[in-house]
């Protein structure tokens, strides 16, 4: 007798809990279908198992079904998603953004060595810029020679520092040479062009 009453109360409780969790399970199933996060996926799938029959029936997804139409679908905006981030999430996202920014910056620095800007200006201005750049190259060559000799005679505590200086001087020299190449190309183009004398006057980069 007592055992029967116990089983009855268990059945009633199960029914009540089932009714109460039904909407949650439906939502979870929808999440499971869109989930990208591996941690969420198994959980959502577990909920989905209990509601497979309802979800997969064509009638339940039909807009004609008044019960489904009445159920409001929560659309998460970016702001809402960001608001749900924990401080740990925020920290990780910030770290990732910083790392990505560093990678981009590094790439840009390397790319800048090969990305020659478009030289502009008429032939006279370009020739003047070429003369200036040639002078810069001479200065840079002297600076590289100086840095190289200084590295040879530097005391041990300055060797690393002088290597850095030599690298910087060499980079300056390479940059000046690239600039000269770019200007010379531009000058040749201007000379090939019949109307180069009337080109717009603008200083080269």
């Amino acid at each position: 007798m007592r055992r029967r009453r116990f089983l009855k109360s268990v059945a009633v409780c199960s029914a009540v809990l089932a009714v109460a969790f039904l909407p949650v399970c439906r939502g979870a199933t929808r999440c499971a279908s869109n989930a990208h996060t591996p941690n969420i996926l198994p959980l959502a799938a577990a909920f989905a198992v209990s509601t497979t029959t309802q979800e997969h029936s064509p009638a339940s997804s039909s807009p004609a079904n008044p019960a489904a139409a009445a159920h409001k679908i929560k659309v998460w905006t970016n702001d809402e998603l960001i608001a749900t981030r924990t401080p740990a999430d925020v920290y990780i996202f910030q770290k990732e953004e910083q790392a990505a920014a560093l990678v981009v910056e590094g790439f840009n620095q390397i790319a800048s060595c090969f990305a020659f800007g478009q030289a502009e200006g008429n032939a006279e201005e370009t020739q003047r810029a070429i003369d200036t750049t040639i002078q810069s190259i001479r200065d840079s060559e002297e600076a590289v020679v100086q840095a190289r000799r200084a590295l040879g005679t530097a005391p041990d505590n300055l060797k690393l520092r002088n290597q850095m200086e030599l690298a910087q001087r060499t980079a300056e020299l390479n940059h000046a040479r690239e600039q000269l190449w770019k200007l010379q190309e531009h000058l040749q183009e201007l000379e090939k062009s019949p109307a180069h004398d009337s080109a717009p006057s603008q200083a080269p980069n």
Binding site: S136, S140, Q146, P155, D156, N157, L158, R161, E172
Partner: protein, 477 residues
């Protein structure tokens, strides 16, 4: 009968004179012998004293050779004779000997150094890293001072029998350093060294003398690429406005460390300089944001300048925001200078990174070219500085007219720290009551950054002016 008695009595007095004479002679002999003995003793004493004094000064000569040759400015500097003989920091049981043999003797075996094991423990010398170098005492074949060897080594609390940090333990392994005022175990300041000298005279007299010594650095630290003393009220821009120009407070030697590109010494000066440091991107450094800075890196180092550590008198300070303080600094640099010149035409005096010098220029100084290597050290100029190319690194102090100009449009670099202070009227050279407005003008702007702070070159420029004896003792033999 009475006559006979009288004769007897008279006869009995005979010989007294002889006795007296003998006694007197004896007395004189004793006195003479005493005098001879005393004189001999005096001779012996003075001989011993002379030997002791000779041995003392012979050992002292050894100490001074050892102490003197530690100094990089010395023409017979150890490392100039034998590269890396004295490294930047000696480790425990790094032992260096200066040997001064007579004839072909091996002084380290003929006169073994038992004192080292006494200080560091039995068997320590056998496990030590020993290097030797010849003495410079004999000159042109003439025997010099009669010391046999000089030992140079780092010290510990135990080796000098001293509890430096008051922890009631004499640490046997941690090496001692000297911070300008106290010995310490925390590697603060410069490494303290022990110099020990053994002298042996031909008569066998021996003496050991010992110094504990530490280098005294003429330390000048201005943590900014450019420090402008005084209330800057200049009408023109400080530097150059072109995009190719730059003053950077980013430490070239240690990129993670940032200093001010330009430091003022008062709030007024900082405000005025801020308005003249345009475009802001030309002046990166601390206080600016990452990337092209929105605001120029300029700040006040007034507190540090008002309590500037006296380079010659550790523990004392002076105020470098005043004329008196600036003049005192000039005076101390002059007293420690390797060269004092009217101008900068003698470029050979400007040193190098391997051998930096302290140079005072009383007039204008024109520096140009790309010498290999560039000059390096401390350069104090009381007139105008004209600068182009890359002729110098280290510390330039334009204290006087306070003018620094790049006079030709060429690729120009200076690494280190530049200090500008106007203490005299630039036209009349009459002394000013308060520091005036210094000038930094830059004609061409290629090679950004042109002036960059570099802590390595600034530190390298600081000369060791002497090895100060911290203690002196005679070790009984």
């Amino acid at each position: 009968m009475s006559a006979t008695r009288h004769r007897r009595c008279t006869n009995s007095e005979e010989g007294v004179a002889l006795l007296i004479a003998i006694s007197a002679l004896l007395l004189i002999s004793v006195i003479a012998i005493s005098l001879i003995i005393a004189a001999g003793m005096e001779t012996s004493l003075s001989g011993n004293y002379r030997s002791s004094t000779n041995a003392y000064y012979a050992a002292r000569a050894g100490l001074e050779e050892g102490r003197g040759r530690l100094l990089p400015r010395n023409p017979d500097y150890f490392n100039a004779t034998s590269p890396a003989f004295i490294p930047a920091a000696l480790t425990l049981h790094d032992v260096r000997y200066v040997t001064n043999p007579t004839g072909g003797e091996n002084v380290l075996t003929a006169y073994p150094d038992t004192e080292y094991d006494t200080e560091f423990g039995a068997g320590s010398l056998a496990g030590a890293t020993v290097k030797t170098i010849a003495s410079i005492s004999p000159v042109a074949g003439i025997t010099g001072a009669l010391y046999k060897w000089v030992r140079i080594n780092p010290i510990t609390e135990k080796s000098i029998n001293l509890d430096v940090n008051g922890d009631h333990v004499q640490n046997p392994t941690t090496l001692l350093f000297f911070d300008g005022q106290h010995l310490n175990l925390t590697a603060t300041g410069q490494q303290a060294l022990e110099v020990t000298s053994l002298a042996v005279l031909p008569n066998g007299t021996q003496k050991i003398l010992q110094y504990v010594t530490a280098p005294m650095i003429f330390s000048l630290n201005f943590p900014a690429a450019v420090t402008a003393v005084g209330n800057y009220t200049g009408a023109t821009n400080f530097g150059n406005q072109t995009a190719g120009f730059g003053i950077s407070g980013a430490d070239f030697c240690n990129p993670a460390s940032q200093q001010y590109a330009v430091a003022g010494t008062s709030a007024t000066s900082v405000t005025n300089l801020s308005a003249k440091l345009t475009p802001a991107g030309n002046y990166p450094g601390t206080g600016g944001s990452a990337g092209p800075p929105a605001t120029a890196s300029v700040g006040s180092n007034a507190a540090a300048m008002q309590n500037f550590p006296d380079p010659l008198h550790p523990g004392q300070t002076f105020d470098l925001t005043t004329i008196a303080g600036l003049n005192q600094l000039v005076s101390e640099i002059q007293s420690s200078a390797d060269y004092t010149m009217a101008d900068c035409s003698t470029t050979g005096n400007l040193g190098s990174a391997a051998s930096p010098t302290v140079v005072v220029v009383t007039g204008n100084c024109s520096l140009s070219g790309n010498p290999s290597p560039p000059g390096s050290g401390i350069l104090l100029v009381q007139g105008d500085v004209q600068y182009v190319d890359h002729p110098y690194d280290g510390l330039i102090l334009a204290i006087g007219t306070g003018v620094f100009q790049q006079q030709a449009s060429r690729l120009t670099h200076f690494y280190g720290s530049l200090v500008l202070a106007q203490t005299v009227n630039p036209s009349t050279h009459a002394p000013l009551g308060v520091p005036g407005t210094p000038t930094l003008s830059w004609l061409g702007g290629t090679g950004n950054p042109n002036l960059q702070y570099d802590s390595c070159l600034v530190a390298n420029a600081q000369p060791t002016i002497t090895y100060k004896p911290l203690s002196f003792r005679e070790i009984s033999q």
